[in-house]
Amino acid sequence: MIDPAFYVIQFLNGLASASNLFLIACGLTIIFGVTRIVNFAHGSFYMLGAYFAFTLTATIMPALGDALGFWLAIPVAAVGVGLFAVLMELLLLRRIYRSHELFQLLATFGVVLIVQDLVPAIWGPEELFGPRAPGFTSFVVILGFRFPEYQLVLIAAGPLVLGGLWLLFNRTRWGTLVRAATQDREMVGALGVNQSVLFTGVLFLGGALAGLAGALQMPVEPANPFMDINIIAEAFVVTVIGGMGNVLGAFLAALIIAQLQAFGILVFPEITLVLPFLVMALVLVVRPWGLLGTPEPMTGHGFAGDRPLKPLGRRAQLGLAALVAVLLLLPLGLGDYTEKLVLEVFVFALFAFSLNFIMGAGGMVSFGHAAYFGLGAYGAALAVKHLDFAMEPALLAAPLAAGAGALLFGWFVVRLSGVYLAMLTLAFAQIAWSTAFQWVELTGGDNGMIGIWPSAWASDVTVYYYLSLILCGAAIAFLWRASYAPFGYTLRAGRDSPLRCDAIGINLKRHQWLGFALAGTCAGLAGGVFVFSKGNVDPGALSIPTSVDALVMVLLGGIQTLTGPLLGAAAFHLLEAYILPLTDYWRAIVGLIIVVLVIAFPQGLAGFLRERLAGEESR
């Protein structure tokens, strides 16, 4: 029997982590409220806060004495992160306020990738232990348990910041403007408020709050290069549950999530990673705009410059035929390594194409498409390992498993739209990832599963190359056809105008759901083909970076074209294969590619080529 006092201690621990979550999430929610940008880089702000505080304490504490040095370093670190956020606003966000939400999400993720490579380059890859907080290094005794004094500081920080924000938003002109902009950005602009200054200020505030959270965390947790990704998903969950743009909502949600985790770990230690995402999914089903959020108007989610879908012209058809011929003949002149590389291009082409089927055509931005790729990969691997399936039935199990997952998750997903939809796809992907990661007996956990090889007849690389070409090619051809078919048009109709769909008798949600499931099924097939070419699978297949890879492929190729994702997959995968081994900064390179694409070539490679060709023809 556990001592009841232990529950009190656990509750206090929950309060401390609630404070931490709230400090991060409140900046995220304020930034979203005003700029309508979901800032992935918020986790990077948090991480930078911890690193800045580490460096500052190391320099200032010897000079000014421990107490003054430490308590000066914390706010200075926060301001430093605020300035970093301002830099990001001026250089990047300012150019994309009017862009599609997909570009905004990706652009901030580009910053995440760049910071992820910068941090180890500057501070090294090891964990850095900061000093303890002077004046709060010992314990207090609560109900017979020793409780760290510093935890009490953290517990107080959350409500203090909440109170400070309340004063700022209700007692100052600037705060009033922020609230007004959160409710109606257009109107505040129309009243002659200088939006640029307002947005820069909001980024400073949000960045500084995240930096403060990171700096305050330093005495508890060593600064490390994984802090950003570990925290950002949870911060999203808190923001979404609270209602995006609502600070009080974020506070409530942080309390709920932190306490659920504090006590959940006692009851079901194996589902702690999944728990926040499950709660988020449940909340969104009951209240699609979060606990205290306000509904967004029903609008379409088309991309600027969307054009009617034209059938392939004569030249494009010939080009396609030539491409297929080249792909068929390719194994004659290539070694095993290159053959395998091209085979993987088929896999990623199908993965990216299936993503674009729901995103480009359907307007549903998925930030968790890796879930279905991974479900396919795991479906096949589990079938082989636990059910003794041969390759052939396992390759059938892959799309079926992914399709079932997509049907289940999709049922919830299509009830939302825009960024909420994107966040929910992310949450589901994290659920899938956490399950693969934590259910060690079934999935092998972090190590994954190995030894998943093709049947004897297909074990030769060239044979498997053709098998992949046939399977992925057939699936792409099928989705291609479906894009031109009434079903694809129905998805596009839903993207353009949900209101009009409703008025001509289209059950939009149902079609979006089926589209989501179809895309998931195809991604699952890609995952299945992938696992037999690699021989193993690990949770990376379901992770956020894999989802982002698919988004980058689509974006690189061009979201408004059908050929785009295929081109993008080929370009991205070949780049990765040839550049990754040469550099320690692959992620930063991808991040830069993303940022450049979003700012300079939002139409992607295929869109760029199309415009060039169209320009020549019209001359």
Binding site: G300, Y484, A485, P486, T490, S497, D502
Partner: protein, 273 residues
Amino acid sequence: MTVLDVSGLRKAFGGLTAVDEVSFGVEAGQLFAIIGPNGAGKTTCFNMVGGQLRPDRGSVRLAGRDITGEAPRRIWRLGVGRTFQVAATFGSMTVAENVQMAFLSHHGRLRALLPSARRLYREQALAVLERVGMAGQAERQCGLLAYGDIKRVELAIALAHQPKLLLMDEPTAGMAPRERIELMALTAGIVRESGISVLFTEHDMDVVFAHADRLLVLDRGRQVATGTPAEVRDDAEVQRIYLGGAGAEAAARQIEARAGEQLPGERAEGEAR
């Protein structure tokens, strides 16, 4: 034949009764207008007929069939087309494809995965576009059209389904005066030749008096008057509501003037035929 029969319709939002005991009927081939000052309950009334709102009390019958509280999708299936205050079309599709979507939905072909959507119901779509004068622009992208033309496409989408009843929420909102007259003349012409009924709300009195066969006047949720344009025009209470009790004389002058203005509208309608 009575196409739409609304009786005892009531809707309250919290303590505010937006629509109270409203009853009216729309006959086949009739243009029926709901008018009234801002906040009179026009749009609430309209949305209860279209299925966007569920009434607290009362019934809506379409050609004798009870459709009270049905979903908009279902109501569309039963033969009700709709246009919106701010036109809603599929901006990334061509004009023809917009109308083809309505045919695909009408024929239950939305889930087909293999045939080419561009080829399905194309002739039918072009025929409908011909009726609204948009056949010449069938291959243009809908999102790039002038607003008046987008409204015509919307009308074509609604007509594709051969509706018994067309719901038009402020059909001429946001249009230039000349375009307004043309669009309403076109609508009236189509309605009269095909026997469709139209229920519309409208702020523009020129449009109302030029085209409506019958009017319903609402004020603060209450049904003030129902009748022909002439009857409504001479109704003492309508005059009082629009201009206040003290301004009865001014009201008479205003409405006389409006009665005069309707003539150009009627001429336009004649030309459309």
